[in-house]
Each structure stands twice: as structure tokens, then as C-alpha cells.
Symmetry: C2
Subunit: 412 residues, 2 copies
């Protein structure tokens, strides 16, 4: 953590106040897992009747906590969420499994629920054993002191290399009433297409059945967390959970076509994208926030692959860091994506400036205007392939010397 | 080029003298394409009867010169090779094609051959028009002054961000006689699995038929140029050509099972690996040379994908730069490769030190010994998946702040 200096220049200028979500309470604690002088445990409690959905990392080497959550999700009910930072409990073998079982047991006892209703997430260093006994002294007091208002504290307790806590809130007109959706997230490195942020938790008081929660997350992650990348690396721990306390009242909704569900899903999508952008804006060492639009591809999937090829190209990302309108490297990244493309139909834009058209430099473009544009903190790059109607947008950040510094001595 | 300071610390300690290859002559020249005060054009001339094989970038947006070479290769004969540095003539549209045609025409006229017997390669900035008239004053004098000895000068003329010229030579017992294989290469960034170096040219006096030359290159590139990566980026210009003058005499060989061909192929493989390693050792900003062995995979192909996932992980590469034995990031890279793996059977070694076994930290391992090992300039990482017999080795370098500096202001 020594290399992290101050808050990302791309951080939001202000953070919203998060209202209470009826049926959910939060406490944070300092268990001394790794970071001195800060909180590193977050306990969230849910009233009986709370449903839960989730999506997880596609890593073939998931963490012990991801294994636990996947199994726990089968029942679709939740009473508690325990998250720690400082240690990912990943690649920890039988010890990792024992820690997970013991932690869930402690929370279940403090809350008075079944261990399978306890969800767990861990983030931090991989491969170091996580000692469950660290949780023992803090879980009881945390459960006893939880309140409905500690959302910012929750977002802060789950940070690792993050430079600011990530929070978002939305209100949904839900039939004749209003429901709330609150979300928190953490993530700054190891951010890649498949479940981008390491951790994000969303809570609502809407009454929605568990399978529909997972279904909505799966669909809405596509254009939010799965559409961002910092370094192309996929975490072993990526976890996105959506808890619905149902305290807004009414029947439990399970029909995706229901008008209330559709309204909810729109706001959920917006909130997830907001959190995903906050993660990119806290990309390790990031100084530029970059949106990459790909249009005219043969399909959305093809556009996504090309967008990610550009967004993960170290040469493109270092050029952006250097404020260099180096569209040649974008061509190279399009070429290596392996997707249908016709070199001689490509057009490339920085913002609204067309720099290349029909497979060559746009001879009307001004190098000075392009260079001027690259000095912006938020950059939009558009690549039009000119061969189809598929389109997609992904978001990334630049690759700076600070990224190398942060990751060259993360453990020290 | 301002950020490039001195020769890579990983450069070979000495460079071999290259003997003449009967039937091949070389000249270099300064055409002032981009770099002041250095050579930027290399012309190689071949006697009639020279055969040629080649493999090229898999980029969907190849350079105009790659298009040209692919077409010229159909006849399988070569009389000249013209290479320039400073401008890649890539993404230059109709102008790029015109430049290629004009350049080949100029060389054909100077040499007295058909334009289709002239091979071309260009390396440098993408997307800037390359003016063929730059070549006009230098081709005639170069053709007139070519000698059999200018191999080091040739390797130097084709450099871009390279910090040293890359040369290699081998001698083959070829039936009752000896034949020579000389090779040169350039490349330092935009180095990726599919045709790693941007440019490499190999010349022999052995009599080998053109289709067999291409076949041998295709097979031997797999574990040489295609097994290295600096930054996962694939160039638009990657070109590997093998010219055989046949001046050693004897029948033209076309049978891959011929004993002489097999002996030749072994030495060719060794020379290509040598050149490929020289490219990695000149990786932009590199301070460490890293071999990654993957064993116990379900197949060689699967082992290759996992090896490349590790070799291209910015988190692994920055950890190596920081001399941090951070095997957790290797686990994460194995996990994201999408290949069969069993977390609880993984073992990881730094050199001969086993740091993880059976899916968790090896509790016998010494953190100090591992840290000590990471201070070496050449690092070997071995990942044993424990689920099959597939194995592979790939080579890469670390990711340093200098890489970012070099690529953040390449064009300025």
C-alpha cells in the first residue's frame, strides 16, 4: 500500500448520501487482518425473508469464499453478509475451506440463522492463510451494533488498493410506491471482462424472488461490470450479490415481464454501470477515464471483443497516458482481436474528431486538435468498422508508471 | 525515441561474427525516413535460383508490405529484399499500396529482375504515409555497393526501439558438406504470440525448395517467435522470411524426411529460438528475462494458453519487476486462462524452489530464499497443473515504468 498516494484524480466530485434500506443493517470493525489503523470487516444483517441472487468470477481457480457463496445461493435466502479486506482467502487449500466454514458458523451463531444463510467475501492478498479466529472478537459486537445508515463505512471497510469508497443509490417507482437500491463496490486492479470488480453488493427493499435476482444480475452485468477493464486480469474472488429484503411489502415478484420488475431492472442497470465506472475511475494509477465505442461490427459480441482488445492493449493505454493521439495502435489492436474487420473501411474518432477513414489517415484532421483533445481527463474513442450493425461500449483507464509502481510493491 | 536510454541490461554479452552466405549480398543506407543520423534502409540481393518461404502476422489489419509479400511468395523465388525502419506503411490505404508497388519497381529495375521477386518489409510508425521517393536516391548506390559481410549493419538498419542489433548464425553438417544459416531480427514492443518479432530474415546457402522453407518456418516458429511475448500486442507487420540461395550446390531438396533437411531444421529451430530470445531480452523497458514452464496440462496447446496468460498478465509482470515472489498472481493468471485446471492440484516453483503445492502455500518454503531468487536477471517460473502430460515453455520479460515511459512518448 506504500505506493498509493492520495485519491484518484478521476474520483467522483461528490458522493451521494445513501438512505436506509428497510430490513438491512450494517456494522464495520477492525480485525487487524492486514491493514493497521483502519476497518477491515463489514457485517451486513438482513431480516428474515430476504432473497439473494449472485454472479461470480469465471476463474478456474476461484477463492474458497466464492465456492461457499455459489453453494449457499442454491437456497436463495440470506440473513447475513460478512466481508473482509486484506486477505482474499484464495488458493488456501483445505485451510481456506475450514476458515470459510468457521466464519459462517460464527456469524450464524451471532445472528441466530443457518450457516447457509450467511454469505461471505474476502479480498486482498492471494495465497496467505486467513485465520478465522481474527473474526471471533468482532462478529458479536458488530452484530449487536449494526445500523441502517453505515453504507459509506461499509464501502470503506472493503477497500484494498482503492483510493475512495464506491457507493451508489437509486430510487424506483415500483407500482404505487418507491423502493430503494443501494450498492457498494470495491476494485482497482485485477479488473477484467468477466466479473470486473472484485466485490460489489447491492441491497433493495423490493420483493423479488431469488432466481429473478440472479437473472437480472447476469443480464445487467454484461454492460456494466463485464464491460470494464483495468488490466485484463480476472480476479479469483469476483463477487456481485443482490439482496432483496422485501420490506417494501407486497407479493414476491418472479416474472421478468412484470412492469415493476422492468422499472427496477432499468434502475439496477444504471446503478451497476455507475459502480462499474467508479471502479475504472479508481484503476490503479489511472489518470484518464476512457470510453471505447465500437460500431459497424458484425455483432455486439464481435464489437465487444474488439473493444476489449483495444481497452487491454498496453500500447494503446500507454499512448493515452502520454496524451498521444496514436490511432495506429488502435488499428493494431483491432487487427489482433481476430474478429471480422476490413482494414480499408475502418474509421477512427477521438471525441468527435475523425482521425482516420477508409483505412488511412483523414487528411483533413488536425494533429493539434487531436493532441488538444487527448489532454482531457475523459476520452472517448470510437472505431467504426463499416461492415455491420453490431455495436458496443467498454470502459477502461490509461496505463501509467504509477500502475507499475503500485503493483511492483503491493506486498511489501 | 527520447525515452530509450542505452542498451538493454539483458542484451547478449557478445555478438557472433556472421560469415558470408554465398549468393547473398547486403547494403544499408540512410534515406532520412524518420531517424536522423542513422541508417534506415537495408537492401539484400540474392543470386538467381534463390528460393524463399515466409510466415506473417495474423493481424486482420496487416500492413501493405505484408500484403505484398504474401502475394509475391506464390512464385517461391527471390532476388531482393528491401527493408526500411521509421515507418511501417501500415494503415496507409491506397497510398500504401502505391508505395509498395513503386518501391518494388525501383529495386527490380536496379537489380534487373521482376518486381514479384522483390520482397519488402517496413517497420516503425503506423498510419503515416510512406513516400516511395525517399528510396529513389539510395537504391541504385546500395545495389552497386552490396557486400557479403554487412550482417551487423543490416540488423542495425532495421531497428526501431531496439537497443541492440539481433543476429545469429549456425553451421549445418549437410550431407558431406557444411551450409550456413544467418539470421537477423528486430523487435522490442508489440511482441505477441502470433508472429512475435516484427521482422526477421534468415538466409542460407542450402538448396531447399520454397514450399519446404515455408513449412519449416511455420513449424519452427511455434516454439520460437510464437512462444514469446512482451506486451501481448500483435504487430500489423510481423514478417519472417527464409531465403535459400542454393549456392552450396546439389539438388533442390523438397522432402521434409530427408536427413539433410532434418539436420538443417534442427539448426534452424535453434537459430530462430536464439533470435526470439534476443527480441524478448530487448523488450521495451525489460530488466528481467523470464521463462515460464507449464507442465501437467491436458495438452501442449492448453499449456501454451496458460503460459501466455501468465506471461501477459500485467500483475505478474509488474510483480517480477518489483522482485516480488507473488505466486498468488500466477494462480490468478492460471485461473483466467479458461483452460482445464484443478486449483487443489496446482504446484508453483520459482527456479527450483517450490512455493505452492496441492492448491496452497508450501509451508516448507522460505520467503527469503524466494525473494533472493527473484533478484536474478533470468527467472524461471514453473507451474505444474497435475492433471495431464501436456507441457510448454514461453518466454517474456517484466513490465517496468520504463515500458510506460517508452510507449507514452514514442511518437514525440
Amino acid at each position: 500500500m506504500g505506493a498509493v498516494t492520495g485519491v484518484s484524480p478521476l474520483a467522483p466530485l461528490s458522493f451521494p448520501d445513501l438512505p436506509e434500506v428497510p430490513g438491512a443493517r450494517i456494522a464495520t470493525a477492525s480485525a487487524g487482518i492486514r491493514y493497521p489503523g483502519r476497518t477491515d470487516v463489514m457485517l451486513m444483517l438482513f431480516d428474515p425473508g430476504t432473497t439473494v441472487g449472485g454472479v461470480f468470477t469465471r476463474s478456474k481457480c476461484p477463492s474458497a469464499t466464492v465456492d461457499w457463496c455459489r453453494a449457499a445461493l442454491a437456497a436463495g435466502t440470506a440473513r447475513a453478509l460478512l466481508v473482509n479486506s486484506g486477505n482474499a482467502n484464495a488458493f488456501t487449500g483445505m485451510r481456506g475451506k475450514a476458515t470459510v466454514t468457521a466464519s459462517a458458523g460464527m456469524v450464524a451463531e451471532a445472528v441466530g440463522c443457518r450457516p447457509e444463510d450467511v454469505f461471505l467475501a474476502s479480498t486482498g492478498v492471494i495465497g496467505e492463510p486467513l485465520d478465522a479466529s481474527k473474526f471471533a472478537p468482532v462478529i458479536g459486537p458488530a452484530a449487536a451494533s449494526a445500523t441502517g445508515t453505515a453504507w459509506h463505512e461499509a464501502a470503506r471497510a472493503i477497500m484494498t488498493t482503492d483510493t475512495y469508497p464506491k457507493v451508489a443509490t437509486r430510487e424506483v417507482a415500483f407500482g404505487g410506491q418507491k423502493v430503494v437500491i443501494n450498492g457498494i463496490a470495491k476494485g482497482a486492479g485485477m479488473i477484467a471482462p468477466d466479473m470486473a470488480t472484485m466485490l460489489s453488493f447491492v441491497v433493495t427493499d423490493a420483493p423479488i424472488a431469488a432466481p429473478l435476482l440472479t437473472d437480472m444480475l447476469r443480464r445487467e452485468a454484461v454492460d456494466s461490470f463485464n464491460a470494464i477493464t483495468v488490466d485484463g486480469d480476472t480476479s479469483t474472488s469476483d463477487t456481485l450479490l443482490l439482496f432483496a429484503t422485501g420490506k417494501a411489502g407486497g407479493e414476491l415478484l418472479a416474472d421478468p415481464a412484470d412492469r415493476r420488475v422492468r422499472a427496477f431492472r432499468r434502475e439496477l442497470a444504471d446503478l451497476l454501470r455507475d459502480l462499474a465506472h467508479q471502479v475504472v475511475r479508481d484503476g490503479e494509477g489511472a489518470r484518464k477515464f476512457v470510453a471505447i465505442n465500437v460500431t459497424g461490427a458484425t455483432s455486439k459480441k464481435s464489437a465487444r471483443r474488439i473493444g476489449m482488445s483495444i481497452a487491454n492493449s498496453p500500447l494503446v493505454k500507454t499512448a493515452i497516458a502520454g496524451e498521444d493521439a496514436n490511432w495506429g495502435r488502435i488499428v493494431a489492436a483491432v487487427g489482433k482481436a481476430g474478429e471480422p474487420a476490413d482494414r480499408d473501411r475502418l474509421a477512427i474518432y477521438f471525441g468527435s474528431l475523425r482521425v482516420a477513414v477508409n483505412g488511412e489517415r483523414d487528411f483533413d484532421y488536425s494533429e493539434e486538435a487531436a493532441s488538444e483533445y487527448m489532454r482531457n481527463q475523459a476520452i472517448t474513442i470510437t472505431v467504426d468498422l463499416g461492415i455491420g450493425r453490431g455495436r458496443d461500449t467498454v470502459w477502461t483507464c490509461d496505463l501509467t508508471k504509477e500502475y507499475v509502481a503500485i503493483n511492483g510493491d503491493y506486498r511489501s
